[in-house]
């Protein structure tokens, strides 16, 4: 079996080309069936916004470029012209493909290092192949290994941790001050782009209350309606005049206005702090430009004021952390690759090992049956067990060596072993009338 991959990804393929070769579910199933049916090979298509990758198996006797059928189909279906200088796609076979898929699943090949969506997309690819009926034993094992490695990388390293967008970084800061936001009230002031993104991020989260304030109330109502329709919880829309009272109620205030001058000045913030009293902290996330909160507000006790520069610093720190985690993730990928290749090698020698064991077992049984008339049941059982153990011990070393030793996996060597048994069987058949 020759495992190969043709990949059109963001590293080497333009977005126009990626658009053209992207697969929807039905298209992928149809493509896989047409690619794999003629040779009864196995195949899976991974199609995301950043990559379209065709993983398939070719037979050992196939031409030197096993990916040729896949490229021809891509050309016929999508008008894709492969170019090698500079390359507009990546293709390889064997261990490099296994490693590539495991790196993809771990998020090491993603545009945003360590992103987590890819793991779901890898699962989807497997389900498409199942529907197409092109996922055989080898491909399934490879895909399961890729999903397993992807999960381990996320569980055992920090590769996927930390926000990499401004909206996500804003909530990372909020969670660093307050922990889970379930018991905290959030106020969004303004309907700017980052405010909208922040609302979008809050869709899956539970909060004690979400309030939206905007100078143009209609726009706020529209955003609140979109939030509710998108599956978010209730949003209270308040008039701009209630800004001060709303800040007093809130724990996290996110400003995303285009006011041009601070809407929360120092005096107002001092009043708000005095009104809130006690030990309640207030986090002001000023995502507006020009800034919407007087910078001196950050000097007030119990008030944390963060702006776009802070969010950029959080993102930089998270990026650095992800980069630091790459060696750990690579080590997990390497272990997964080795484990899969070991399994695959074992699979290629399995028929030979099975043949060897069958042959020994057959001889053992024949000899045992010859002795049966002269033995009582107990002696026969003991002899049966002893010969079974003898055969197991004799065959243990050759079986293990065959599975383990790469130099014995040469198809010619395995073929010679197979022929050796065939000739032996043929000779026995000639001599022994029982085998005729």
């Amino acid at each position: 079996m020759r495992l190969y991959c043709v990949s059109l990804n963001h590293h080497c393929t333009s977005i126009e080309l990626r658009e053209r070769v992207a697969f929807a579910r039905e298209e992928a199933i149809d493509f896989l069936q047409r690619l794999c049916a003629p040779t009864e090979s196995e195949g899976v298509i991974l199609s995301t916004c950043n990559r379209t990758e065709i993983y398939a198996t070719g037979s050992p006797g196939q031409e030197s470029t096993p990916w040729q059928p896949a490229l021809e189909l891509l050309h016929a279906d999508r008008g894709f012209e492969p170019v090698l200088s500079p390359p507009n796609h990546w293709r390889d076979e064997g261990a490099a493909v296994v490693r590539h898929l495991l790196r993809v699943s771990a998020g090491l090949e993603s545009q945003v290092l360590g992103e987590t969506e890819i793991l779901g997309q890898v699962r989807t690819a497997l389900s498409w192949a199942d529907e197409a009926g092109t996922c055989g034993r080898r491909m399934r094992r490879l895909w399961e290994r890729a999903i397993g490695v992807g999960k381990r990388v996320r569980a055992e390293t920090l590769l996927g941790d930390g926000a990499l967008s401004h909206a996500a970084a804003a909530f990372e800061l909020a969670r660093k001050v307050f922990g889970p936001l379930e018991r905290h009230r959030i106020l969004v002031v303004g309907t700017g782009e980052i405010g909208a993104l922040a609302l979008e991020r809050l869709r899956g989260s539970r909060t004690a209350g979400l309030t939206l304030i905007n100078r143009t109330r209609e726009r706020a109502e529209e955003m609140a309606a979109a939030h509710r329709e998108g599956g978010g919880g209730p949003v209270e829309v308040r008039p701009f005049e209630q800004l001060e009272a709303s800040v007093i109620d809130a724990d996290v205030v996110l400003t995303s206005t285009a006011a041009g001058e601070p809407i929360l000045d120092h005096g107002m913030m001092r009043r708000i702090r005095a009104e809130r009293g006690g030990r309640r902290s207030l986090l002001l996330l000023d995502l507006a430009l020009p800034r919407a909160v007087d910078p001196r507000a950050g000097e007030i006790d119990g008030v944390y004021l963060k702006n776009l520069d802070d969010l950029a610093a959080v993102i930089r720190s998270n990026e650095a952390q992800r980069r630091d985690e790459v060696p750990k993730a690579e080590a997990l990928v390497q272990r997964g690759t080795d484990a899969y290749l070991d399994w695959l090698r074992g699979l290629s020698v399995e028929p030979t090992v099975r043949d060897l064991r069958d042959r020994f077992e057959r001889v053992r049984r024949e000899e045992l049956e010859e002795l049966r008339p002269g033995l009582d049941a107990e002696a026969f059982a003991r002899l049966d067990a002893a010969t079974r153990r003898l055969i197991a011990r004799l065959l243990h070393a050759p079986s293990a060596n065959l599975r383990r030793d790469d130099s014995l996996h040469d198809p010619r060597l395995l073929g010679m072993l197979q022929r050796l048994f065939e000739e032996e069987r043929a000779r026995e058949s000639d001599e022994d009338p029982a085998h005729r």
Binding site: A155, E156, T157, L158, D161, G162, L173, R175, K176, V177, F178, G179, G278, R279, S281, G298, D301, G302, Y304, K306, D309, D310, A313, V314, S317, N318, Q321
Partner: protein
């Protein structure tokens, strides 16, 4: 308990505390959730083993097993680990454990250095239940103050990092400010309750033996520090309960209390804070 068994118990416990600290440090540095799930059992095992050793020694001496300053340090190490375990079970935050367990391991090591190879101190007199409870509560209270101070320091550390816009490793690894504040307040509350028991028993004992020339003086320096500690913790705990005291102020106060507790630990003797 034979001297050999006594030494072996101290040695095993010291090794366990060192391993526990190493485990907690790895968990802190890796920040990995996989390690986090496994973390509770070594701490629980160590606390249970230490408790068993203390019970054996307590049965042997007929009193709270702190017959020397070094035994008291080991007892404080146990109390700190037990408080950390309680906080972990209550709050589910384990990443900060190393900051409590490392000092506990140091105390246990100090204790081992001065206890191993010497005959364990013999019981000084008839069993005294009230005295034992007084000593137990006092040491638990001091441990609570130490743990509260450590969480106070972590709170202030994170608070300053956020204010300064330093979003490095410490920022990433720490739980939220609010959670650190809760750990800080819970440990302070535990310390306060224990010291309430200590002070209550102490005052009762003092009032019933006030005419005894051997009786302790309330004006003795260590006793004064203990009362000051108790008052400080009272302010923290009650203030936090009624919602008037928290955040950086609570953290700062518990750090002052921690310094007082460290001073007390240096003054501990066979009679606790009541003289050598």
């Amino acid at each position: 308990m034979s001297p050999l068994l006594f030494d072996a118990a101290i040695l095993v416990l010291t090794v366990l505390y060192a391993l526990l600290t190493q485990h907690a440090a790895r968990r802190y540095l890796s920040g990995s959730s996989g390690l986090e799930r496994l973390s509770r059992s070594p701490l629980l095992l160590t606390v249970l083993l230490h408790l068993s050793a203390l019970i054996l020694r307590g049965v042997e001496t007929g009193t709270c097993p702190v017959l020397s300053r070094w035994e008291a340090l080991s007892f404080v190490a146990f109390c700190m680990a037990a408080i950390e375990l309680t906080l972990e079970l209550r709050r589910g935050i384990r990443v900060t454990g190393v900051f409590v367990l490392a000092p506990a391991a140091v105390l246990q090591l100090l204790s081992a250095v001065f206890l191993i190879g010497r005959d364990p101190a013999p019981p000084s007199g008839a069993p005294d239940l009230a005295g034992s409870l007084h000593a137990f509560a006092a040491l638990l209270g001091i441990s609570g103050v130490v743990v509260a101070g450590i969480y106070g320091a972590l709170y202030l550390g994170l608070h300053r990092k956020i204010r300064a816009g330093d979003y490095g490793g410490f920022f990433r690894r720490m739980p939220s400010l609010e959670e650190l504040g809760e750990l800080n307040a819970t440990a302070a509350g535990l310390g306060f309750l224990s010291l309430c028991v200590t002070v209550g028993i102490g005052l009762y004992g003092w009032s019933t033996r006030a005419s005894d020339p051997e009786s302790i003086s309330l004006l003795a320096f260590p006793v004064g520090v203990t009362l000051l500690l108790w008052a400080l913790l009272g302010v923290c705990s009650v203030g936090h309960r009624i919602g008037r005291f928290g955040g950086a102020r609570l953290a700062g106060t518990t750090i002052v209390a921690l310094l007082a507790a460290l001073l007390l630990l240096t003054l501990l003797g066979p009679k606790g804070v009541h003289g050598a």
